[in-house]
Symmetry: C2
Subunit: 331 residues, 2 copies
């Protein structure tokens, strides 16, 4: 056994004990939690929102840049973001983790300790999962929340004339990735650190979503995980509409504007910012802009839903209009 024992050294039983010790269950609505074959919960009467994500090393993240803590943080954050986009308060999580047998126990401890901290930040309990051997590091999270409004927020209910909003700024994570990939750039500036942080530690807009639904129920909402250029068409295709976006109105951070010659290109094409993209009828949109508390996170109107099915216009930047990221097609 080396100085840093691996899963191969300790085996499955001890591994599960370590995880159970780091992630005890407390909520009274959990009848059976981690450590059994399956979890048992007593559901509330509210509608439940369920989402499931999977990420694989080499495709969705690279171990060389992503610590165990980063991975735990981000994989949970991306699921919290999905719940936020449905106006749901997180409640439960199940984690499947695929690990090479030579993974060090301290890596696993760091992963689950970060998860334990983050679950408290977002108010959910980890009630179960699976830890398996896998040649590639991979993770799949199922997150479950309770919808905080009566009717579900869908992606297929945007209407022509609706105003299109996004929270925060976009393009930062794409720039962060580029900085990490740039092998000539060993010295990182302050703005680099911000952009990298936006990639590795995105803030899911849960607080903003819960604030939003108190002020106005979006006619559609999604989170920007694949980039505006791909997530906006998702709403439009599902709703049978088009959209017209004023390129110059897309909010970019000061740091992105300092880093990039063409920040709008990053903001349009870049994924993984986990900002919210939502639509509202004009009257509610105007009212929202007046009442929104800008202190923590701005919201920006970037354009309009149009009736031209499947047509997305990026006004002022036709040159980058039809771009975006497809995990399958662009590799």
């Amino acid at each position: 056994m080396s100085d840093h024992p691996t899963i191969n050294d300790i085996g499955e039983f001890k591994l599960h004990q370590i995880i159970k010790d780091i992630l005890p269950n407390s909520s009274k609505n959990i009848l059976v939690g981690i450590g059994d074959d399956a979890a048992v919960i007593q559901p509330l009467h509210s509608p439940m929102v369920l989402t499931k994500d999977a990420m694989v090393e080499g495709v969705h993240f690279l171990s060389q840049w992503t610590t165990a803590a980063d991975l735990a943080y981000k994989s949970l954050a991306s699921n919290i973001s999905d719940l936020a986009a449905k106006g749901a308060q997180p409640a439960f999580g199940l984690i499947a983790l695929g690990l090479p047998g030579n993974t060090e126990i301290r890596w696993i401890e760091e992963f689950y300790q970060t998860l334990a901290k983050q679950k408290n930040v977002w108010g959910l309990e980890i009630i179960g999962g699976d830890t398996i051997q896998s040649p590639q590091l991979m993770i799949s999270i199922t997150a479950i929340g309770y919808q905080q409004i009566q009717k579900p927020i869908r992606i297929n209910t945007a209407q022509p004339g609706d105003w299109i909003f996004i929270t925060g700024t976009v393009g930062d994570a794409a720039a962060g990735l580029e900085i990490l990939q740039d092998q000539n750039k060993s010295e990182k500036d302050l703005e680099d650190a911000f952009l990298i942080q936006r990639l590795l530690r995105p803030t899911p807009r849960l607080k903003e979503a819960l604030q939003l639904i108190k002020l106005a129920i979006p006619s559609s909402m999604t989170d920007i995980s694949d980039g505006l250029a791909r997530d906006l068409p998702k709403i439009c295709k599902a709703s049978g509409t088009g959209a017209a976006i004023i390129a110059a109105s897309i909010p970019c951070s000061k740091e992105l504007r300092e880093y990039a010659c063409d920040p709008i290109s990053y903001a349009w094409k870049g994924g993984e910012d986990y900002e919210l993209l939502f639509t509202l009828p004009e009257d509610q949109a105007k009212q929202l802009l007046e009442t929104w508390d800008k202190e923590d996170c701005q919201i920006t109107n970037i354009g309009l839903i149009t009736s031209t099915s499947d047509s997305i216009q990026l006004i002022g930047r036709g040159d980058i209009q039809n771009s975006g990221f497809d995990h399958f097609q662009q590799r």
Copy 2:
């Protein structure tokens, strides 16, 4: 584009459309189903059982022996088996599928078409998931069911003196795997076909579990996925008990007895049979043996829970007592 288009050829949007078309949602308790970012359901008042499994090509299955239909069948079956062991009626499933970009569309269609058939067999609706690019084929299923009894069935509540039962026969799947791995065996006998089928198409004991809980509530229950030699200690460790098993009483199929010189060794060590392993106090155990309907699936008493913490005795076969399968340690 070749004769058989791949995901790389059609991209993510079309892929999601194909899946959505094969798996439409129908239940009125599904407020938002497949095709949105997240699912929304209206839960019943009963306690919910949640389980999450993950399987990776090369570790948990081999593509050369496992068709898309086999994989869909088995990955769902193993989750149904987890719900059965909790006395739960399946209700919802979420599927994350990781696929190499060169996976043919017809493979994906076969996978989801099988899933669509099987979900009807088990009475659950597929409400969402994720389809991602992955160098290895991998699958993670979250299955959710409603507990059909008041108190959860746990793995940590076996009592000394309880009788230990298993459904059906064990060891078949391990023999099936050996037959597939035996490159010298190109001709397969009839019993080989049975054993291989038990590996690739295991029958989760849902009907039996639901019959059982009407007759008697087990003091503990689990499904045999890793083999008796590993799943029985799980119950014992969690319950702080030991167990004494009469090796000769472990039920083996006629086919296994014909195939193997030492069928008990397969039955003890072999995993993936997905039979139920449960315990009952003596009086209820005796009553169960009298009332159990043997027509479809036998149940067999194989031994007793003992008070000697952590000690598993395999009476008559001390030579194979301390064996079993650890995905991490035995590779």
